[in-house]
């Protein structure tokens, strides 16, 4: 029986990108339904009535919400290939800790960079660089956060790398200068087919960020 897999998504969303990359890693085909977040569809409101947010994975009609939860679901359901989480419970806990760290911290600082001015924006830049430096420590000398293989933390962070250029341009700073390891990790990831075919063009994201900032800040 063929699986029916749909994603309710918004193309620039780093969170939606996680789901696309995870499915691509597992070689699972899906239909992507683009949402207009200013005019959310009845399907989205029905599938995610509590948070009304994307991404939502709809698997054979059943909804799964929250991107980190969706990625674990994908890993557990299609558990016969490309494991995303390590098998050892301690290492799984570490991976989950860092995904949670990204979720708690990263977006808030990103918002200050593309949506803030003056001091708020400076604060956002400082915070974001601290977060990225912490993540560089976690990466260490490994090719991927998952070690030799692409893992859940790689999946969870790689979409964010499409935002680098746009944030640098509106924030007038260089991520590569302070976090060269992370930038080379991002380049390494983009050489993987599952990543390159799942992520939008960084230039398009940069354009989106510039336009979005104009709407918020003027």
């Amino acid at each position: 029986m063929a699986d029916e897999v749909k994603i309710l998504d918004f193309w620039p969303s780093m969170f939606g990108m996680r789901v696309r990359v995870a499915l691509a890693e597992k070689g699972v085909g899906y239909e992507c339904i683009e949402e207009d977040l200013s005019n959310k569809s009845p399907l989205l409101l029905q599938m995610n009535p509590i948070h009304k947010k994307i991404p939502v994975l709809i698997h054979n009609g059943k909804p799964i919400c929250e991107s980190a939860i969706i990625v674990e679901y994908i890993d557990e359901f299609w558990n016969d290939r490309a494991p995303l989480l390590p098998s050892d419970p301690y290492e799984r806990a570490q991976a989950r800790f860092w995904v949670d760290f990204i979720d708690k911290k990263l977006y808030g600082s990103v918002r200050k960079i593309y949506g803030g001015k003056g001091e708020e924006q400076e604060e956002g830049k400082k915070e974001m660089m601290e977060i990225l430096k912490e993540l560089e420590k976690v990466l260490g000398e490994k090719d991927y956060f998952g070690g030799e293989c692409f893992g859940v933390l790689d999946v969870s962070l790689v979409g964010f790398s499409t935002w680098f250029g746009g944030l640098e341009s509106v924030g007038n700073f260089s991520i590569e200068t302070e976090c060269p390891k992370l930038v080379s990790w991002a380049k390494r990831c983009s050489e993987k087919e599952s990543v390159s075919k799942s992520l939008p063009d960084s230039n398009k994201i940069s354009e989106f960020i510039v336009q979005f900032r104009k709407k918020i800040v003027g």
Binding site: I50, E72, Y73
Partner: protein
């Protein structure tokens, strides 16, 4: 045979610490609790805590044979995976596991913060927070449905995560002048059912202790 060393860097009133202790009790795992001085009256947070959780510097921390684990929901999942033979806390199907994780995330995002607003404020702000808490509990009642526990017939991971917050409800009720049981009877019934379990009642603090804690905090904030 080497002995398992399980230590929790703890705060007896914290619902986040208490969920970890309930999970360990459910698994029949013995542990040592080290109470942390979170408010600095006896020297502040220990070196061990600061070293074991350098990012957040928070409790609970689980030290399993010396290796630290942080973030209570992640710790509870770790406990379930490490001691799998007795009473699994997570359901077995990927879809039901995703649903359980969704409710854990919902509870973690909402319950304690909104509850804190109730005792950290007065007047209209407090009324808003009460309304919000009732809405959250009604949402959880819907998720519970007609089941005995969120885990179904058996006490499961969502029950472990949620039940410790209820020891704070008595304080919210006294400060906010309302009763959870009147607004959310199903939720209260679930709470009573959980409290009948030894693994829960042996861990949770007396609600009076929490009420006393909140009263002194409110005095410090100039709210009473």
């Amino acid at each position: 045979m080497s002995k398992e060393e399980v230590i929790i860097l703890d705060c007896s009133l914290s619902p986040f610490c208490n969920r970890v202790k309930i999970a360990l009790s459910e698994k029949g795992v013995s542990y040592e609790s080290k109470e942390e001085d979170l408010f600095g009256s006896k020297g502040g947070k220990s070196e061990l805590l600061l070293k074991s959780n350098p990012i957040y510097k928070k409790v609970p921390v689980l030290l399993h044979n010396g290796k630290p684990l942080n973030e209570s929901s992640i710790i509870v999942s770790y406990i379930d995976e490490t001691w799998p033979s007795s009473s699994p806390l997570l359901p077995s199907s990927p879809y039901e596991r995703a649903q359980a994780r969704f409710w854990i995330d919902y509870i973690d995002k909402k319950v304690f913060d909104v509850g804190s607003k109730i005792w950290r404020s007065n007047g209209e702000e407090q009324e808003e927070a009460k309304k919000e808490l009732i809405e959250i509990l009604k949402q959880l009642e819907e998720a519970l449905g007609d089941k005995d526990f969120f885990g179904g017939e058996k006490f499961g991971i969502v029950d472990v995560i949620a039940i410790p917050f209820t020891s704070w409800f008595y304080a919210y009720e006294k400060v906010g002048n309302f009763k959870v049981e009147e607004c959310c009877p199903k939720f209260s019934a679930w709470e009573k059912r959980c409290l009948q379990k030894d693994t829960v009642s042996s861990v949770l603090p007396c609600p009076d202790k929490i009420y006393n804690f909140i009263t002194s905090m409110r005095k410090n904030l100039g709210l009473e």
